[in-house]
Symmetry: C2
Subunit: 475 residues, 2 copies
Amino acid sequence: MPDALPPDGLLADLSALLGPAGLLTDAADIAPALSDWRGLYQGRAMAVLRPASTDQVAACVKLCVAAGVPIVPQGGNTSMVGGATPSEDGRAVILSLARMNRIRALDPVDMTMTAEAGVVLKIAQDAAADCGCLFPLSLGAEGTATIGGVLSTNAGGNTTVRYGNARDLMLGLEVVLPDGQVWNGLRRLRKDNTGYALRHLFVGAEGTLGIVTAATLRMFARPRANEVLFCSVRDEDAALSVFRRFRETDETAIRAFEYMSGVGVDFAVKHIPGVTLPVAERADHYILVDLASTRADADLQGLAEQVLGAAMEEGEVIDAVVGGSEAKRTAIWRIREEHPEAQRKEGASVKNDVSVPVSKVPELIRRASAACVALIPGTRPVPFGHMGDGNIHMNLEQPVDMDPAAFLARSHDIMDTVNEVVRELDGSFSAEHGIGRLKTDMMESWRGGAELSTMQRIKSALDPAGLMNPGKVLP
Amino acid sequence: MPDALPPDGLLADLSALLGPAGLLTDAADIAPALSDWRGLYQGRAMAVLRPASTDQVAACVKLCVAAGVPIVPQGGNTSMVGGATPSEDGRAVILSLARMNRIRALDPVDMTMTAEAGVVLKIAQDAAADCGCLFPLSLGAEGTATIGGVLSTNAGGNTTVRYGNARDLMLGLEVVLPDGQVWNGLRRLRKDNTGYALRHLFVGAEGTLGIVTAATLRMFARPRANEVLFCSVRDEDAALSVFRRFRETDETAIRAFEYMSGVGVDFAVKHIPGVTLPVAERADHYILVDLASTRADADLQGLAEQVLGAAMEEGEVIDAVVGGSEAKRTAIWRIREEHPEAQRKEGASVKNDVSVPVSKVPELIRRASAACVALIPGTRPVPFGHMGDGNIHMNLEQPVDMDPAAFLARSHDIMDTVNEVVRELDGSFSAEHGIGRLKTDMMESWRGGAELSTMQRIKSALDPAGLMNPGKVLP
């Protein structure tokens, strides 16, 4: 099938608007934008638009809408669910925010940053640090993911337990609406009760209600004390108990609380050069605790000793290592961060980004692991992630002797098996990655009825022609 | 004008549905629900419905919608902006959530509470404390305001600087939609990216998009250390500087940071029995700093001494008192909490609930005060409130010799004068009280264009007949 023919004149109009740097139509130039980084989808598009200003985005939207051409907004293209990949029909254009990469304002008194959508997350973090502040959103793709993308997916990451999701770090938005109007909602206010909270509607909408072009973000005081602990623990319940102990003792000191399975840590040690087990003996369950405080004299080591001492007495913690130096803290974090890469090197794996109430994390890990092993004997569960906010990446590694393709062919069965447990535990089938294309067909079953019909009413009201990132989020 | 005649059969159907305890039609019984507690409005209504369950609320909505009768939801009826008062035409019914006052679930591991809309805020706070946790939302009306009301207005209060607004304390909602469908979104998840964030649309919508019947709320660890400071400071800039010092030194310890003017404290000392000035000499500017930590050994006195010592050296802080005992902490807070009552006793006053970026609070206080004095010579500015999140109650007390009624007749001029300054400082004309009836006519000027038209599209999509709390929020 040839690519859909561009509507008469649209490309010419876009070219006149955007200039040569702003419009890509050569197949080789647009190829990287057509597939997602997990390699789940391969779409087509007639062009990649690269507007350099909000006005240009608005003009692009107006031209495309007039021509009836769908628009797929794209930031760093790091979606885990194909949220920024066009469909196969080739009718759409991709609208890249990459050139909108200015930090418009930074204020260390207000502790706000106004950044355009194409600013890479890492750049935003660095800009905050440069003015003595902290922008705390932190996730694996932070060197590529953009502010527009992390807001449109309401990204989570490692520090949610302390600072919240992307949504919670956002005070205001600038959005190009589906009719090409620009809504300037870049308010930098901590309190503003003046009508419906539109900004919260666009965060997490994955570009289906409009295009986020800039955001005003919250910054925080820079921590002056930091400590990272790595512990082997008795079991999943013990891991949760240690979390509760830290929360009870010093709630705000917990910057991250991560669970890892013995198998997952084995993979990291086996496959990732330089990764070693920090504790003396292998265990079936580990935790990573990142403690931080703005108070230079916070005595986080003392806090750690107090909590871990009590937990060891109860047999919850088997062994523990306190980072102590920056290098050791980094080394501990690497064990956790290399989990996806280690799983990739070990073979085929199926990913599940799920959440449950915090109290049910141990049950989730146990039951979902057992159910998947029962489904495909030999499957190796590799649950890991953000125990402190109930978000476990309930990943499954193929059996040692199985053909990777045969294992991946069972992906949907595996996901269904995990999700059945998640549902029984009042959880969510997408904790932090969103819906994209991957999970639209699950919306009816999980969010059907009044909730989905309300979403659809909103979609129809704001985007009656259905041209904003079609095929994403809603079935 | 007689009350509008009830549509045939509606009251009979409602009576059959709700029983005698659930339907009030006698004028004496419904009178308290017809006016707001500030006394700004006096509405009429054909009945007060008092459903006892979500199903009953849904059935009420269906019956009223079928009859074309507007519904005004009402919680504790403590709106500052007439948000729960029916119009004068008498066509509406009031739907009170007062009987839906169960706490359905409390979980100290998940740190969540699921409470029905009619639960009084103070009761929710106490329930959290009873299971060893904290529900931090705290405001003057907490003994009367309800969970449904504080969410529907996205209430703020004293602890926003640390814990956020009501919105930030909510994980899930149960809502009866304008078509009578029940949306059960009572999820107790910290991460859940599955479509549009409907819950954030209903929070702050003041009942115009549906009726919140229950909510799942976040709880926090209970602080074990607490200290309250009262300081006289050089000027508004010094007050802000002290805030920045505390934030830089121990961001999470600041539970509240309140500004008070010398005139406001004078009124409290003059009119409120038992209130005395804690520092030796009167000043023109004061601050109250509430410090708290879950860590029992947090040494908040040491923190206070460190920060105040540095601020005194710079001449920012003139004098300071550290509470030390529970009784003294309460006495300090009373000075701040009695501000509205003291202003009432002093004479007529005009209230402005406004916010600006935190960095602009000093300028707001100075410029708005000067502008109001220029407008009506002798006017006594009494700015006070939540400096830490940029929300100042920019109140104006009548001149000593002026007739109160004559002063109040200038209310709109005064509000316009304050708001002109607020607008120039990129602020908001309603920080935490919402829009209600009082400020609907300001929406066009402040939120007009793409923002207001998007709100109106959403309203039309969800409530096409316009029967949910008509005349509120949207012009």
